[in-house]
Amino acid sequence: MKILTLFCGNFGIEYNLFDFTDKQLTNLITGIITDIGSRTADNRYECKGMSKHDIREVSNVIAALKWINDTLVKEGFITTPDDIDAVVHRVIHGLTKYREELVKVTPEVIDDVLEFADFAPEHNPYNAEGMKAALTVYPHAEQFAFFDTAPFVDLPAKAYMYGLPYQFYTQYHIRRYGFHGISHLCGIGEACKLIGKSMQRMKIISLYVGRGVSMAAFDKGKAIDTSMGFSPLEGLIMKMRSGNVDPQILLYLASREGLSLIEIGSILNKSSGLLGLIGTTDIGHAYEEATRGNEQARLGLDTFVYQIQKYFGAYYVALKGVDLLVFIARDEDVVPQLWIDIVKGLEFMGATIDETKAYATVREEPTILSTDKSKFAIVYVPRHEERCMAKRVAELLQR
């Protein structure tokens, strides 16, 4: 069985092809197409242990999907589009309508995703377009969507409501939605498997580090709170996003700098976070700089870590204790020193990390990082939401 996963956004399209045979899931190719709508769209992919790169004129999402299909054919994974059994889309925003993370794509789903565009302008319109295009390019494949917000729809009201006039909730649906839901769910699922315990019996806090950074608290497998809010801007300090700020700062900057609030929104989303504080989005690089005596880098990292510790404390109490802390990251975001620094602030809660094990972590291998003495388990799992989505779909289709 061949399963293609797609994640469409204003950044481009991420794609992965999986083969599922004899209950074994194998990643055949992973790639990203950027600069869609230009003459020099870019296709970077890895397969058979090689990194490859291609440039082509790509006018729209359908053309981009056709290019992906051409690539799959060229590399010999398929011969026709009909060889693809299922296409799986990662969709960012399902409001409160989509409570199940996995749904079959229907015209109604596409309409809804488009209708929710205001809530995730950088993703939902592209998600919708991706689903439409996939129906054209892969008319015979099963089509599924995974909703990033789904695991957080049923947060308790006290966790999802803001201290705002109530009509903003009823009229504009302003509430905490939370994001990275699939990444958190997959991450904690894998971590539970690693330590051999059931998710249904555990209190879990997970930290996801990618382009965005978020934390979530799960009680018996159900999310009870998460750091991202109405949009992915809220919460922890991220690569380029500010996370929490005094909301008055937006108004202050508007009047002092003569900026429109849209421009300020863009500052908070694109030139803040670690980039704004340190001047880099690369956490490993920031650590190297800090070690070399770069004070700004040290300060930025300390602030980043401090915010994570504060959320941990808050969730520890919301859960009334914790059994498992999961670090979810991939590639350059696997920075053992970051985990060590975070756990240092949690020592009075009984956490201890094995620094040697942390430093020996292999990027693609789930690893137990806590010592035997630690009151709760600390685990690293690689970020693999595509694999996790593909697996869920494969198992569903086999039934």
């Binding site: 205001d118 009201a157 006290k158 409501m161 803001y162 201290g163 705002l164 006039p165 109530y166 903003f168 302003i174 809010g229 109405f230 949009s231 801007l233 809220e234 991220m238 996003r241 500010s242 929490n244 700020v245 005094d246 909301p247 008055q248 700062i249 937006l250 108004l251 202050y252 900057l253 508007a254 002092r256 609030l261 849209i262 300020i264 929104g265 500052i267 908070l268 989303n269 030139s271 803040s272 670690l274 704004g276 504080l277 700004q296 300060l299 300390d302 602030t303 401090y306 504060k310 959320y311 941990f312 404390g313 808050a314 520890y316 109490v317 919301a318 009334k320 204790g321 602030g345 009075f348």
Partner: protein, 399 residues
């Protein structure tokens, strides 16, 4: 030594005359500049309650106060006042402690206006008026922000481009400092231990609300930020929200920055969620009668305080005492209970009986006798702190 303590707002002057630590007169001039102003005064054998009177400006208001003090025999003449202590809301990074007001200080106070445009100008008006009326009496400024100036950059920096900190001083300042200072010191006194050995969390829950983490006498973090808008859900202020909500509202409702400012500061918080009132007593009544939104407002309020307390417990690496103060903190046992519910595993044990009777300005302990974490209700007394600070500075001045 007789010290007059003044708190000048946009249309009001609150005053209290101290003879050392004893209050010998107090009162308030309200609705200054309106058609009819109101004057209240209390001193030995005298009670003036909301007397209608015409007070066009702050100078006339202060004259009214001084004349009343003489007329009612509290003092013989103006010369008896040794010093005046002013509450000033924002001292920026310049003022890390209380200060004798001279021309240089005045210039700096003016420079701090953009930080607190709603408060500082009126604080300054009060100082200018006193200089006119009592040119030879020393005046001292006591800042709401000063006690929080011990915070480190990790706690006070936002993850926005660093140059905004350098250019505009955009950082966390924190407020209610005088109140946090008073109640934390008082709690240490009640515990019979020096501040230098205690880890404390103080919760000032009035119409404005803030929490502070105090380690060995120094504030290490606090919930209000650049302005008093950030942090907890308050009477009419939103506290923390996703900053993207500000830009979303502007797009959706076509609001101006001023309108958003007014929504977040005046129509949000308990009032906004409940749609009934910013007054916790009314909300509790309504909630008891089955009003769902009133109940929700209380739940959200308490959950937010709980999250901050737990985050700070983590930051402090454990906590010896938690102190509640101000309107809600002093008078709402039910809210205190909700906040502390579920924290037993941290060593917190609320004594329900003590909690219930600690209202109406009573001071005392509300934790069970053998609980690890001491819980206190301590009525705040910012004026006393201002009087003491002023006295200290004047004594130094006199050598």
């Amino acid at each position: 030594m007789k010290i007059l303590v003044l708190n000048c707002g946009s249309s009001s002057i609150k005053y209290r005359l101290f003879d050392n630590d004893i209050t010998i007169a107090r009162g308030v001039v309200e609705k200054i500049g309106e058609e009819v102003s109101l004057f209240s005064h209390y001193s030995e054998g005298v009670e003036i309650k909301k007397q209608p009177i015409k007070v066009p400006d702050h100078t006339r208001g202060i004259e009214l106060v001084l004349n009343t003090l003489v007329d009612k025999g509290v003092i013989h003449d103006y010369g008896e006042i040794d010093a005046i202590g002013h509450r000033v809301v924002h001292g920026g990074e310049e003022f890390k402690s209380s200060v004798l007001i001279d021309d240089r200080v005045m210039r700096t106070l003016y420079a701090c206006i953009p930080f607190a445009p709603l408060h500082n100008p009126h604080n300054i008006k009060g100082i200018e008026s006193c200089k006119q009326i009592l040119p030879n009496v020393p005046q001292v400024a006591v800042f709401d922000t000063a006690f929080h100036q011990t915070m480190g950059p990790v706690a006070f920096l936002y993850a926005i481009p660093y140059h905004y900190y350098e250019k505009y001083g955009l950082r966390r300042y924190g407020f209610h400092g005088t109140s946090h200072y008073y109640v934390s010191n008082r709690a240490a006194e009640l515990m019979g231990q020096p501040m230098s050995k205690l880890k404390m969390i103080t919760a000032h829950l009035g119409n404005g609300c803030s929490v502070a983490a105090i380690k060995f006498g120094k504030v290490v973090d606090t919930s209000m930020g650049f302005t008093p808008l950030e942090g907890l859900v308050m009477g009419t202020r939103s506290g923390d929200i996703d900053p993207a909500i500000v830009t979303f509202l502007i797009r959706k409702e076509r609001l101006s920055p001023d309108e958003v400012d007014s929504i977040l500061n005046k129509r949000s918080g308990l009032l906004g969620i409940s749609g009934i009132s910013n007054d916790m007593r009314q909300l509790m009544d309504a909630s008891n009668k089955g009003n769902e939104r009133a109940r929700l407002a209380i739940d959200i309020f308490a959950y937010r305080v709980k999250k901050y307390i737990s985050a700070y417990a983590g930051v402090l690496g454990g906590v010896d005492a938690i102190v509640f103060t101000a309107g809600i903190g002093e008078n709402a046992p039910l809210v205190r209970k909700k906040i502390l519910e579920g924290l037993e595993f941290m060593g917190i044990q609320l004594d329900d009986e003590l909690n219930k009777c600690m209202v109406g300005g009573r001071e005392g302990i509300i934790s069970k006798p053998d609980a690890k974490v001491k819980l206190f209700v301590i009525p705040t007394n910012e004026e006393l702190v201002i009087a003491r600070e002023t006295r200290k500075i004047v004594e130094q001045l006199r050598g």
